[in-house]
Symmetry: C2
Subunit: 218 residues, 2 copies
């Protein structure tokens, strides 16, 4: 996470900031609870503000829209991933960095069981799906940035990492769909992820051969 450990936060946090954070968290939690309970479209902003005991007007002081509550709540995955990338040993290979970082982020994500329920909610709510795609796009860019920060490459390297990020995020999306569609009873998340990685590196290796052939053939 981008946040500092609790003690430091408490020290540097005045009452005002603390209250604000608490209110934000309260809105987020109550909203999520209601969304999961009765669906996104069947929950009005007033329902949320009533549950969180703030005025309707204040809601928009914290979140620009109803959709953003969901987006903000699950933004944590991106933060985890980026931090995990930065935390890998400097001499680790690109592939190892990605595997380790994603495993770390996934591990953090499933620690809260609501993550899975939210994923289903998004899948079944058109209004949320569009915003969800934006999240993938942001993730793609952030991942490329984080990888680039490690490698310090030039312009061309940057593009290479963007393509890699696209492939990785695509794998995440497909993996998420597979996991949701057929809840892998027998398989642990670790094994599932390992399989997806095998497929990903296999696919990239294979596509690389095609690309090389094409480049040398002309």
């Amino acid at each position: 996470m981008a946040d500092l450990p609790g003690v430091d936060v408490a020290v540097r946090e005045g009452r005002r900031e603390r209250k604000r954070r608490q209110t934000r968290e309260r809105i987020e939690n109550e909203a999520l609870t209601l969304f999961l309970e009765r669906g996104f479209d069947n929950t009005t902003i007033e329902d949320i503000t009533e549950a969180a005991d703030v005025s309707k007007r204040s809601f928009f002081d914290y979140f620009p829209s109803k959709e953003d509550v969901v987006a903000a709540w699950q933004d944590s995955f991106a933060s985890e991933l980026i931090d995990a990338v930065a935390a890998q040993p400097p001499d680790a290979s690109l592939v190892n960095v990605i595997e380790a970082a994603i495993n770390a982020a996934l591990h953090a994500a499933i620690s809260d069981p609501r993550h899975l329920a939210v994923a289903v909610l998004i899948r079944d709510t058109p209004a949320l799906r569009a915003r969800d795609q934006l999240k993938y796009a942001k993730l793609e860019r952030k991942l490329a940035d984080a990888l680039h920060a490690r490698c310090r490459g030039d312009h061309k390297e940057r593009f290479r990492l963007s393509v890699l990020a696209a492939a990785v995020v695509s794998m995440l999306r497909i993996g998420g769909e597979r996991w949701n569609d057929a809840p892998q009873e027998g398989t642990s998340l670790e094994d599932f992820a390992r399989n997806m990685f095998d497929e990903l590196w296999g696919a990239l290796a294979d596509l690389g051969v095609h690309a090389q052939q094409y480049l040398s053939d002309r």
Copy 2:
């Protein structure tokens, strides 16, 4: 395009269907004109329905939301691309199919000068950006489907093509951003696309080597 040639349409189209299509096109056109003229947020549904001479209520019989008008209008790119993929000679290589299909779709896209203006509009309108990402996601999936329809591969092949589609769409997105950010004065769209393709295949070839190394090293 998915549409049949004009004659056939006229034959199989009753007055009712024709009127409906015309009304839809009228709404689409008037809306686009207004959006480009005074911005998306500064155009109300009533402005549109007045210009298109339909009731406000009818608008929602044609489009589920204001955003969808923009989305529908530029969906044509996806259709062009898919059709172009299907139209390639059956023995063409994967790489060649993609290059040819994208070139064809791009060519069709820039034939209407409003395409570029719409791209800028989307970039500058938050409400449209989210929806726009959905378009990329759809494009990715459609492209993977179209490629898969040609290759008739198994489950693993399908995944491989999804990764490829992700890389290609990512290239399109980055290319679009570059084109918008620095309007390539000297470069033609063809040359620009060729450069992007070179980078893409280069990146894939390079990543393939990494992946192969990793797979064999363990």
